[in-house]
């Protein structure tokens, strides 16, 4: 079974007889040839319709206020926070692939890092929207920024919500810069290959006049490596800080020291599921099977399995500590989570995140593209349910039975969630059309390596 499982060679990661020229042409043609597949138009139309739904839902929210959602006391954090945590978690896989796998010299990241980073940006954009919508008075969000206001009031830096603001805005900024730096040499390629005047000028400006000087490349590589080194602790810190929004409070089910690592593992898990959800249709539609090979899918499935096992450990520990602590509120929280009114959510989440993904142990499953796609969707749903269980189910029955209540999402909750999916997809479609979805210069490096390794 494991005959060629041990060492990944460049030939595993790049099929076909590509040269520097043809691999460049193949990737840049998606952007420059102007022949856009029909499925792009269909997909973009659907995504765009959902963006309109989002705008409608958000406009109505601004007119009427957060009362249109299902939130109330005790469940004051509803879908907005669930969606925030879910989206920001999805973003983490992009940074993991581009930064951590770079530091670990995992070459298979090369053909997936660009669109995984784009996915990060768009997921963070979707995530960042939700706390603002949740504010109720979104026009005052700038109160979070420490600036010398005439009111003389300053933000409270001891609050996890302030940490969160700094973490997410830093994460968004660093991700944009990291992504852009990676794009500069490819912009130069597009500039030199574009035939239209407009495209030449646009890509020319974006490439900043990159000309591939050896001195520039050396500084570029050093800078890129250092940025990867900075992004690695950053990505770990972001979801840790998001988890502190919960863990610093005293709500049973939130007040837990396992939260930071458990959130980070969950973020990687859901992020890889989303990368697969995007990569599988993309390689099919644009015939990129030579560049994004079965080997890539297999490796991503393995990362997913490993992070999924860490998540499973988190669930087991939460349950164990609830019992072992002897704290009646913790014990009741866990009992209610499993057998209370939202019990079905918990069991569905266990099925989606723990039980079904065990199929990934089988090599045949990891290498079957349709099976992997379905599994990725299942995990996406499971991770959303996990956040729902953490946020809503913990809140709806806390210390005081007299203040217990139920949360029922309204049509506006669903419209905002669906709309954010549409926004994410629409941004991805635009990205695929306008920018190279695979790092071209890194593929040329892979070609060189393949030629060197060839006997």
């Amino acid at each position: 079974m494991a005959e060629h499982d041990n060492k990944t060679t460049a030939a595993d990661l790049l099929h076909g007889d590509y040269t520097y020229g043809t691999v460049t042409d193949k990737i840049s043609a998606v952007v420059l040839s102007g022949r856009t597949p029909r499925s792009w138009y269909v997909g973009f139309a659907i995504a765009f319709a959902l963006v309109m739904l989002l705008l409608w839902a958000v406009t109505y929210l601004f007119v009427r206020g957060v009362g249109i959602w299902g939130i109330d006391i005790p469940v004051a954090w509803g879908f907005a926070i669930v969606n925030f945590v879910w989206w920001i978690g999805i973003g983490h896989a992009g940074t993991l692939i581009s930064a951590i796998l770079l530091l670990l010299r995992q070459e298979w990241r090369t053909s997936i890092n660009r669109f995984a980073e784009a996915m990060t940006l768009f997921a963070v954009a979707c995530a960042g929207m939700f706390p603002l919508l949740h504010l109720g008075r979104p026009e005052y969000f700038y109160y979070l920024i420490p600036y010398p206001a005439t009111t003389g009031v300053w933000p409270q830096f001891r609050s996890p919500l302030m940490w969160d603001f700094f973490a997410v805005s830093t994460y968004a900024t660093v991700s944009v810069l990291f992504w852009y730096v990676g794009l500069i040499p490819d912009m130069a390629t597009l500039r030199d290959r574009a035939t239209g005047r407009f495209a030449q000028i646009t890509y020319g400006i974006l490439s900043m006049g990159w000309r591939g000087s050896a001195r520039h490349w050396l500084r570029y590589q050093r800078a890129y490596l250092i940025l990867a080194g900075l992004a690695t602790p950053l990505v770990v810190s972001v979801h840790s800080i998001v988890s502190l929004d919960f863990a610093v409070s005293i709500v049973p089910g939130w007040h837990s020291t396992i939260f930071p690592p458990y959130f980070v593992a969950g973020a990687i898990y859901s992020g890889f599921a989303m990368v697969l959800t995007i990569a599988i249709p993309l390689r099919k539609v644009y015939s990129l099977q030579d560049l994004v090979t079965i080997r890539h899918l297999d490796n991503m499935a393995k990362v997913m399995l490993a992070s999924g096992m860490v998540v499973a450990y988190g669930y087991i520990m939460e349950t164990f500590i609830a019992w072992y602590s002897g704290n009646i509120f913790e014990q009741y929280m866990m009992y209610n989570r499993m057998f209370g009114p939202y019990g079905w959510c918990y069991w569905l989440l266990i099925a989606c995140n723990i039980a079904i993904p065990q199929l990934l142990w089988f090599r045949a499953m990891r290498r079957s593209v349709p099976a992997l796609f379905i599994l990725a969707l299942v995990i996406n749903v499971g991770m959303w349910l996990e956040r729902f269980v953490i946020v809503v189910v913990s809140l709806h029955r806390d210390h005081l039975p007299s203040s217990w209540g139920m949360y029922y999402p309204t049509v506006w909750d669903w419209a905002t969630l669906l709309g954010s999916l549409g926004l994410f997809a629409a941004l991805l479609f635009v990205f695929i059309r306008l920018l190279p979805m695979i790092s071209i210069f890194e593929m040329r490096e892979l070609v060189e390596e393949k030629q060197e390794q060839a006997p």
Partner: protein
Amino acid sequence: MNTSDNNELYGLLAEFPGPEPLVQATAQVYAAGYRRLDAYAPMPVEGLAEAMNFRRTSMPLIVLIGGIIGGLSGYLLQYWVAVIEYPVNVGGRPLHSWPAFIPITFETTILLGTFAGVFGMLALNGLPRPHHPLFGVAQFKRASRDGFFLCVETSDRKFSLDQTRDLLTAAGAIEVIDVPR
């Protein structure tokens, strides 16, 4: 050595068939005493900058300084707000509650370090630079696809149109092109 000819030229651009020939030729031209030269490749090539004796960059130092400034300013901002400008007494707890300031200090360290890395890299590389004499050469478009080039500039003290051309040809160039200013 500067003749009127050289004043109209930026340099001589030689194309080589691949990354390894380019590294060898660059080392050869550097060994011949030329200093104002640069190699151009569509991807980072191992040993190419080293062949021109260009090994050290100040990138790590720049990022370190950026990170230190970021960390210090993040921490001092919080200290100043929480202790001096806007003290909030919560049940007599210390105003200088440093553990609570660590997350934001960490984030501003990363943020300023990244800014220093990105903008420092661009500044050292002299980018953005929309135009460059090399862009006037039609063949140079391939430097971002599959072309491997070495350019010796006329400003080099050793530059001589004929001798430099011969040296580049002897080093294995497929073609040597005049680069107008």
